[in-house]
């Protein structure tokens, strides 16, 4: 290596290190504070304790918000995978007018500001006469999660060799059976990662969910913000730490199924 190359490498590593520290610091601080004994956010904490985690157990509204978020997240992800999967197959395989437009439309919620989308959805559902909060929430989350599913599955499907599906059909599979027996197992990594990203996007969403909640149906981010407003103590850090743990677990699953290197490419 020449001197120029060596110094370039050093600069790159320095920048990478700085960025990593910058991104990780809030997470590390949150976790540390959640194990601290102080009721205010101080670093380093005067002592260690589990009191904030113990408080979680009987925190009003937490378990129901968690349940809502999990149920909505799972339902929306499942619906997105099914509908988005079928749409992606049509988009990747079909030759019809307006393909590009439909693809852009399905992925557009990623590009729109959440509030704009939220208001639009609220108006739309009012207009359609849909008053049920729970159903509206799930539909809104299907729309939020759809871009993650379609983007990942579409790019995986454009590389997929559909003659495998044809081969399965000539061997005795109906079209849906051929999709299930050949396309799904070969694209399992894309389905798993897009599903996890969709689920996390749903769990994390605040801007759109806020339009579809009431006193009884609140998602986790909304409930957490309520706590911060009412009583800003490290309880919220404890919840956040648990969520960080959940994300780590999901990423580990991804790693197992796909490998992080390929995950970064998606």
């Amino acid at each position: 290596m020449t001197l120029a190359e060596r110094s370039a490498t050093a600069v790159v590593w320095t920048i990478a290190g700085a960025v990593t520290v910058f991104l990780l610091t809030p997470l590390v601080v949150t976790v540390i504070v959640s194990f601290g004994s102080s009721a205010i956010f101080t670093l380093p904490p005067p002592g260690w304790s589990m009191r904030w985690y113990e408080r979680l157990a009987n925190l009003r509204g937490l378990s129901s918000a968690l349940a809502v978020s999990f149920q909505v997240g799972l339902l929306a992800t499942a619906a997105s995978l099914l509908l988005g999967g079928m749409a992606s197959i049509a988009l990747a395989r079909g030759r019809f007018a307006g393909r590009e437009t439909i693809l852009a439309f399905l992925t557009s919620p990623l590009m729109l500001p959440g509030l704009v989308l939220g208001i639009a959805l609220l108006q739309g559902m009012r207009f359609a006469g849909l008053r049920d909060v729970w159903t509206s929430l799930v539909i809104a989350h299907v729309i939020i999660t759809m871009p993650y599913v379609v983007r990942t599955l579409y790019s995986a499907l454009t590389l997929f060799d559909f003659s495998l599906v044809d081969a399965a059909r000539t061997l005795g599979c109906s079209y849906p059976a051929a999709i299930g027996r050949v396309l799904l197992p070969n694209l399992a990594p894309a389905f798993v990662t897009s599903g996890i990203f969709a689920f996390l996007a749903s769990m994390d969403n605040y801007a759109i969910s806020i339009f579809f909640t009431n006193a009884w149906t609140k998602t986790l981010p909304i409930q957490m913000l309520n706590y911060v407003e009412e009583q800003p103590d490290p309880t919220i850090a404890a919840i956040s730490s648990l969520l960080i743990g959940l994300v780590l677990v999901l990423l580990l699953i991804c790693e197992r199924v796909v490998g992080l290197r390929r995950l970064a490419e998606i």
């Binding site: 003659s163 044809d166 081969a167 599979c173 109906s174 079209y175 070969n186």
Partner: protein, 360 residues
């Protein structure tokens, strides 16, 4: 089966893609147990016809009947038509044995039958040792054999092969052709092979259908296709030929005189006097300096000599610009480039076609 109906019987198959007519009313019949090739240049619609038979594509018009019943409106999985795809389309997530077992499982054959059937077909294609391997690491020839075993294992009524040798190198191709032909004959399955390789079609088939621009030009035994091509296209696509453009002259007793810039020739044919015709001779039918009676002949100058191992190609020129190709088993003695020789060929080897003014 209806009177006069073939085992696979296609009538009037038409197909257009976005207004672009790819098949223009194809009639095509294959007898039970027969090996037939669809031979034609790339883009002439061979794969399209194959996919229509397999149900992977719907024809715009026409009927497809197999073993006496209409299958044109059945879904692919109910047709009993096996396909070996051009890229083999092996399932990358399954082992060799699981690829072969795939169809048996999909059709819910009795569990007890699956393992013996898989073993039987792996043995048939000499891949027993490879059973547990993933298909990814296999060579091209092995992949082709897995694809054949997988298609045959479910006992289809008809097997379709789409350019199954195009991914293999030349040497391997020749051995695999003979081997596959023998295997399919032993199994006794009716087979349609699609190829653009004339040698492959001639070597493997009971009958060859020469296809051009979505139509079958000639459907005949390989020797008949070669020796008696019915159209200039069939003549040009299968084998080499020497061609001379001329005009039909007088005819008597079924013998036609053809006037050409390099002389008058005779052939067993009848044409309206004055019609433009194309005269063609297969290069190995032309003799050099032979004492032939009742034969066409002309004097020509040897311009080039190409040694090809088992045979020699001699290029001659006659008149102003008429070139003639002659194929001989060995280099003729006493003949060097620049020499003039007498070329002759019998009347019966003289092929005559109507001529539309263009040479293909």
């Amino acid at each position: 089966m209806r009177e006069g109906e073939a085992f696979l019987d296609i009538r009037g198959a038409e197909k257009s893609f976005a207004g672009n007519r790819v098949l223009g009313g194809v009639d095509f019949g294959v007898n039970r147990g027969e090996f037939v090739s669809l031979l034609g240049p790339s883009g002439c619609g061979k794969t399209t016809l194959l996919r229509i038979v397999a149900g992977l594509l719907d024809a715009d018009r026409g009927s497809v009947r197999l073993a006496g019943s209409e299958i044109g409106n059945l879904p692919t999985h109910k047709r009993g038509v096996g396909v070996v795809f051009q890229n083999y389309a092996l399932f990358p997530h399954l082992s060799v044995a699981d690829n072969v077992a795939f169809g048996l499982r999909a059709q819910r054959r009795p569990q007890a039958d699956i393992a013996p059937t898989v073993a039987k077909f792996l043995d048939l294609v000499h891949l027993t040792e490879m059973a547990a391997r993933p298909v990814r690491g296999l060579s091209g020839g092995q992949q082709q054999r897995v694809a054949v075993a997988r298609a045959l294992a479910v006992a289809p009524k008809l097997l379709l092969l789409d350019e199954p040798f195009s991914a293999l190198d030349r040497k391997l191709r020749e051995t695999m052709q003979i081997e596959l032909k023998r295997l399919l004959r032993d199994v006794g399955i009716t087979t349609v092979l699609v190829t653009h390789d004339q040698e492959e079609a001639l070597v493997m088939s009971d009958r060859v259908a020469v296809m051009s621009r979505g139509a079958i030009e000639q459907f005949d035994r390989p020797d008949a296709i070669y020796l008696r091509p019915k159209t200039p296209f069939a003549l040009g696509f299968v084998g080499h030929s020497t061609r001379i453009v001329g005009k039909a002259g007088a005819s008597s007793d079924g013998t036609l005189a053809i006037e050409t810039p390099v002389g008058r020739f005779f052939a067993a044919a009848s044409f309206m006097g004055g019609a433009p015709v194309l005269l063609a001779i297969r290069p190995e039918r032309i003799r050099i300096n032979a004492a032939d009676a009742d034969a066409n002949s002309l004097d020509a100058k040897l311009t080039e000599l190409v040694f090809q191992g088992s045979k020699v190609h001699l290029h001659f020129t006659a008149g102003d610009a008429q070139t003639l190709l002659v194929e001989a088993a060995q280099i003729p003695p006493n003949l060097a480039v620049g020499d003039t020789a007498r070329l002759s060929w019998s009347y019966s080897d003289t092929l005559i076609f109507p001529h539309d003014g263009t040479l293909q």
